[in-house]
Amino acid sequence: MTVTVEDRAAPELGARAAPARPRRRLKLPGFALAIPAWAWLFAFFVAPVALVVWFSFGYKPGIFGTHANDVLSLDRYAEALSPTFFSTFQNTLWVGVVGTLICLVIAIPFSYWLAFKAPVSRRGILLAMVMIPFWTNFLVRTIGWQIILAPSGLLSTALQSIGVLDQPLEILFTRTAVLIGVVYNYIPLMILPMFVAFDRVSLPMREASKDLGAGRWSTFINVTLPLAKPGIIVGILLVYIPLMGDYITATVLGGAKGNMAGQMVANQFQTAQNWALGSAMAVVLVLTILTTVAIAALLSWLATWPLRARQRLVLGDKS
């Protein structure tokens, strides 16, 4: 079979005698299109991170200096990981992991319901209800919880008046208060990508699963969840990473007991003016986040191994 391509424009213009000049080609290589993005990434991500890593090997020279790098050492890392500060990293990890899990437990059923069960006409309003609090200033929302959770606040008074508690609620300035705050503050970041992911799972797939005899639960586990997996992972990362570095929620609701690594880093840069130690703590925090994400990925891969092995489909005769 032959394919002929006709140049329709040429004869009409009467340019038969002089063949049309080939269109001038752009000489730049393909990666040129990515230069702006690379420049952005380099100037606002690679360079600052490199600077932080560089500072972390230095030391604080005196009251009126913030950092010096003429003597390089790992001493700041030893300091950052000393028992006093290490406990703060443990705290942070606890809040980060438990907070993300609570978000997950709330967000999966909710976004599933929103994508499949909620009436389509209401969906816009329901999504708006998730989003609108998110438009309010982060700090204002968090301070709002301080007023609710205070021993003489709304929640405490309400619980006492209906007789659930016989003394004021002592929850503000504890890790529980920080957990409530972070779950409230970050959950929209998890619901939105999950809703999108569930929404994109095509109905025919789920119907096919049912037609082939799978029950509701089996369809959810074997069809819907694997198809929505990318969105779920995005949701988890979007919550877990900023949560680990959050220091506003911890400062406002946790007081002294909810101390998190983000606060420690902020203290080093603001009050202690020790950029070297602050940088080392920041690097440790980043490494903690990367390691835990890698461990979680590995664990989930291992956990689903038997499932995958069982479902492997072998075509043809191997023998």
């Binding site: 604080k60 005196g62 009251i63 009126f64 200096g65 913030t66 006093t84 500060f85 406990s87 703060t88 705290n91 301080q146 007023i147 205070a150 021993p151 003489s152 606040g153 002592e170 503000l172 300035f173 946790g254 007081g255 002294a256 007991k257 909810g258 101390n259 998190m260 606060q263 420690m264 203290n267 080093q268 840069f269 603001q270 009050t271 202690a272 003016q273 020790n274």
Partner: protein, 393 residues
Amino acid sequence: MSHENPVRILASTSATKMIKSELNRRRFLALSGTAAGAALLAACSPQSGAGSSPQATGGALEGGLSIYSWGDYDDPDVVAEFSDELGPTITFDSFASNEELISKLIAARGTSGYDIVVPTGPFIPQMIENGLLSKLNLDLIPNIADMDPDFLGRDWDPTNEYSICKAWGTTGFVYDTTKISRELTTWADFIDAAQNEASGRTSVLDDPSPLLGIYYWANGIDWTTTDEADLAAAEAFLTTELAPHISAFDSYPGGAAIPQAQQILMQSWNGDARIGIMESDEPDRWQWVLGSPDTELWMDNWAIAEGATNPEAAHAFINYVLAPDAALRELDYIGYHTGGAGIEEAARAADLEMLDLVFFDEEQIKTMHTGKLTEAQQRIVEIWDKTKAAAGA
């Protein structure tokens, strides 16, 4: 755009025609773009030391004024009146400790954009030495004559070349009398209550020096000590014996903690305690105690940051708030003695509320000591850091 901002070029008659045609809009934009880029780069580069800021000479006031001060430290009405009468609009930003103020000024190296800053006395000499403050033009601040000479010419700035007293106060604590039935009077009582009735409901100031002060004042140690043995003892006490009972590091419990009854026992500055008690629904519930046997006397000072872009407005503002009438209203709002001459009589005559938290008698003032910025400062900050980490463990 060329109508509003004509480009003027001095050139020979023969060249003008050519230049006119060459300097079309496009080229002009390119040129101005380059110039702006160069200016941006210049702004980013560190400025060298002292003497680079424009000194105020009494010229016209600028349109804006930026003040970097402690939280809620100026009467909004006085500020609004200043803007109405004299023009400049004021922007506020606040810090929680002198260290935070200094770190920001150092990091910006004269480009912080702040005009007025309010450092505490002992920090001033080194701030001057490091070129963070610029000299005041006292001719533009005639109202300094209304100040009580007792509060001028302090150790840190004997001739008031760089600073003028803004307010002074002291450190004590407030407790909830419905939860602590006994009477607390000293820092030792504070510690005892923190470890018992108020355990887990105690806040301390989020400021390194007064935190160590709790231990020093309770144990009769000079709070400006640089002796490593004292520092180590303070560290051991704070991180192991006090930290487990601390529920918050809060420099301004008067803002929310007292009105919302979040804590039982709070270390606080006198003016902040006054604000909190006055805003509480049950003012009788709260008892203020001046720290004893010894405590702090701090004095915050008006000063102008090196590199201030609005020096005329800054001088005008300082002069404005030193006037006796403005000073009295500031005192009523912030709850601190402003150092004005005869302000105590004026305040009593005006029958302002809770003046026992503002004015102190001579005996009490004798027990208050100003701090010092010493070589131990870094160690003090480190101890404060560790106490915070230990409190969260």
